[in-house]
Symmetry: C2
Subunit: 574 residues, 2 copies
């Protein structure tokens, strides 16, 4: 059957239906029709019709035998099929009769099982085309649409709203990425498990996502494409505007065989896909984790202009591992000029690494550690920075506070001054113009933090605060910062000593993040951070993410650079 | 200076001191001497002496100016140095005078900074040798000893007790592995950050760990070895008895340069290390994550006899990714014989994958999924199994229970029967002989679970329960299972509907784990599981761990096989 050229508007009834029929919705928990219906009910606010030819009521809602039994004046935009495959053609006919505009065929038993299934699939496609119904699947797990909070999944999945769109030719990989995203605080605007993709092709989804201004990054899990040329043509137009990141398995003969048995797709050689992706401007990744790692990079960082990297590390072994990672991914650890080394000699003890990676070797003067990035970012030969061990200081202060009464007392005083400083309306309204409380508060916090981490000269701290956390920075990042700080204030009470340190982290972390965001904005270069101890990270509301280790951060950086080079090559051609 | 041959007993005062002096212990929170002292106090129950030549008291404890000022009848076994490097020689002299038996030099500024530092280090070593003091460091982050709950770290770190021993030539990598272990429920018996390793060498620690019956798996982060021949000789003796897993960076020239600047070690070529590790029977890994992944594999699985793998997957895309992973790591996805396919045809719907990876393609009859492993494990050509999507079912039941009153009611009934069944003494004592309550309870839970996941024929369920969860299995695994089940009972109350599903998971998860442990025991083959949605996993008290994805599970499997082949090669030689 010839491929249909798709207008963006044709996918609207799929992703933004006003009403839905769940065909096969059931009271019996052991059926997919139960869990699918449950998933749809969990969020979507529009009308949902259970369709079941044996039950009169499903979970207390009147059920119809057929979609066409739904009253004439109640239109059904979307039909979700959770019935045996053999029944799909006649039900699709009924959907055409009812005027349904889009479908999701979750049912399996089509092209993936061989010739017979393929015939059934073609039959369904012909009926749908006749009725101008566009559909996802068959043999898929469903989809998510953030704009109407619709989880049209075959079982409940956690999902967060956000700027990513994702098409997956595998339901398990898809739901894993969604779940991991939920855990990492990374959200999706659209997600679709496309299954056998009988009607709408992977490149159609990507084209649709490309035109949606809510979508900032596009992900794809691709087992095989039906028409590589069509894919390249359509995706090329999208990737010139926003990044498209793809995971493509089938690098080995057993992988290729498994693809045939799974999605029935023609896997093709891995090299062939490399070349197609290159033409289409698609960024290829190699593991499920990397899909999200790289997406977060694109969401939080600018593109680097070249391959020169500076690394700041809290310890030598992290520096070693990151040097290996850069070198094996074509990034250059830039040699430092003697002037730069001389500048670091002034702020670090003699034992510092005297080169890149920059390692102050356990220097306890944290203010120097926070001054170091600017000494590097200002250099034209440095295109990006990996700033390591940035996250998770709260643990230290928590343990210290339980040991030292002095420290606990100092921290407590800050917090009580803190709650006094913040104006009442600052806590409750979204639009205060007054920022002096934030400046004063930040001054206090920065002071205790640096004294805590070894700075004794308080004039240095004052100078640092003035430069790094000036009112211009505060006003630029005001809404986000204010929200963070107010959130901490809102939960203020006399706290146990154990909680003091943790609370300190909650106040201090956004300040560190403000500095970072500020550097990124001033220098227009990526500054990618890693956590101190390999902890799993969460994307904060400020827009900061700390990768667990150098490996993920540097892989991501290499992919940002790859995309930048691709965009440059387009400009050179034009 | 010639290397000292070390008797196991010589490391006893380091890892099992009765009393400790913290030299440089301080009230000033901005000094490492504060955080180190705080860390030692957080656990260790023996006598701790703060030594400070300016403060009379540290955190309320009488401080001594010098170690030798500690009263004569109070011996000091271990001295922890947190003072400037130049002061270390004279203080070491004082330690000799006092009769200190072991030391940890956290202070930096020795061999890693060049010639001058190396001279200082040699001076310290000579003094220590004279006094028969063995020491760790300098330029290190300290160590952990589970036997006396001693965290001799330069700052507080979370750590769990367990069967791993770990020597790290990098403090950051070391503390990251400890922290990750804590988060994953994986514990350590010993950990040491060896820094410049002036006295005790990496191979000395490995030898010592090798002789400790508490240690089951040994990890090492190695930047460079001083004497490769000595390493091979000593480690070879250990690796014949227990696995030694090493992360060795320096695969690229920038990595090698970073090593020189960090630990001052001679990095050597990566190939040279590959060959040395091969001779020593060391399993090499490539990322910090992999150190723990592989360690958990050795702790929870038997060794595979060959490279034949069977994969069971809840969906095709996971199967594809695992097929790629196996093929690229030299594991063979065994082709299934027609008889085996015929056996699966009986339990799976016609759309199943009809090969390995075995994918029931969304079959809702979970009992078949749980029967599948034995159909494969019994085959002689299958040496190990990856059983995917095994973890985290609780989420489904939680969401379903909120939607269906029927389901919530059924689950509630189980739980109330449950609390009635368990004998009062079963909840409170460690030694009940009666197991019939467990059998009855398990029967009920299994029944609801399978009906929940699509099994309608209850005679099948009864048969399954009898075979898989028979009293022989229960009695074999009784202490662990009983503890798990009793824990759930202990927290029983009338629960909100949302919690019902979660509680169900807590009861059901250990049962699934019992089946797994049972298969591993019966067939003597690794059965490695992965979670359903890429979730970060925790090693359970039952000894079960679900890897986030196929990649980690299969990498681990390949390393178990590598070790098995190494052991076989030793046997062939003898």
């Amino acid at each position: 059957m010839p491929k249909h050229t798709l207008g963006t508007e044709e996918l609207e009834p799929l992703f933004n239906p006003r009403s839905i029929a769940v065909i096969g919705a059931s009271n019996i928990w052991s059926k997919w029709g139960f869990s699918t219906y449950a998933s749809v009910l969990d969020g979507f606010g529009g009308k949902v019709y259970p369709i079941n030819n044996q039950e009169d009521e499903v979970l207390g809602q009147k059920a119809y035998k057929r979609v066409s039994d739904v009253p004439e004046d109640e239109p059904v935009d979307l039909a979700i099929f959770v019935i045996p495959s053999v029944a799909v053609p006649s039900v699709m006919e009924d959907c055409v009769k009812k005027g349904v505009r889009a479908g999701v065929i979750i049912s399996a038993g089509f092209a993936e099982i061989g010739e017979e299934g393929k015939r059934l699939q073609d039959e369904v496609l012909a009926i749908a085309r006749k009725g101008a119904i566009r559909f996802t699947g068959p043999n898929c797990m469903g989809f998510w649409s953030a704009s109407i909070d619709l989880k049209a999944f075959m079982f409940p999945l956690p999902v967060k709203k956000g700027p990513i769109a994702f098409v997956s030719q595998g339901g398990n990989v898809g739901s894993a990425v969604l779940t991991m995203g939920y855990e990492r605080g990374v959200g999706f605007h659209r997600y679709v498990s496309c299954g056998c993709a009988a009607d709408i092709q992977i490149e159609d989804y990507i084209e649709y996502f490309g035109r949606d201004p809510e979508v900032k990054v596009i992900l794809a899990y691709i087992e095989g494409l039906e028409d590589g040329t069509r894919f390249i043509e359509k995706v090329k137009a999208v990737s010139a505007e926003k990044p498209v990141i793809a995971l493509k398995p089938g690098r080995t003969p057993p992988g290729v065989r498994a693809i045939t048995s799974h999605s029935g797709a023609i896997a093709g050689s891995s090299d062939l896909y490399d070349s197609a992706f290159k033409k289409a401007g698609v960024i290829r990744v190699y593991t499920t984790d990397e899909l999200l790692d790289v997406a977060i990079g694109f969401l939080t960082q600018p593109l680097p202009k070249g391959n020169g990297v500076a690394i700041i590390t809290p310890g030598g072994s992290y520096g070693v591992i990151s040097a290996d990672a850069c070198a094996s991914l074509g990034l250059e650890i830039v040699d430092l000029a003697p002037e730069t080394i001389a500048e670091f000699d002034k702020i670090f003890p003699p034992r510092w690494s005297k080169g890149n990676p920059v390692d102050p070797a356990g220097n306890r003067d944290f203010i120097a550690y926070m001054q170091a990035p600017e000494l590097l970012l200002k250099l034209p030969e440095i295109d990006s920075m990996v700033f390591m061990g940035f996250d998770s200081f709260a643990n230290f202060s928590a343990v210290f506070a339980t040991i030292s009464n002095d420290l606990a007392g100092s921290l407590k005083k800050i917090f009580s001054d803190f709650s006094r400083l913040v104006p009442e309306e600052g806590v409750n309204t979204e639009s205060i113009k007054e920022t002096s409380w934030m400046e004063e508060l930040i001054g206090k916090i920065v002071e205790v933090f640096f004294s805590f981490f070894g700075t004794s000269d308080m004039s240095e701290v004052a100078e640092f605060t003035k430069r790094q956390v000036s009112s211009s920075i505060i006003s630029r990042l005001r809404p986000k910062l204010e929200k963070q700080l107010s959130n901490v204030v809102r939960s203020f009470e006399e706290d146990s000593v154990e909680n003091i340190g943790e609370r300190f982290g909650k106040v201090f972390d956004p300040l560190l993040q403000v500095m970072l965001l500020n550097w990124v904005e001033i220098y227009g270069k990526p500054v990618i951070t890693t956590s101190f101890n390999g902890q799993a990270a969460v994307l904060t509301e400020m827009g900061h993410y700390a990768y667990p280790f150098a490996e993920q951060a540097i892989f991501t950086l290499s992919k940002l650079l790859e995309y930048k080079k691709y965009l440059d090559s387009l400009r050179d051609l034009s």
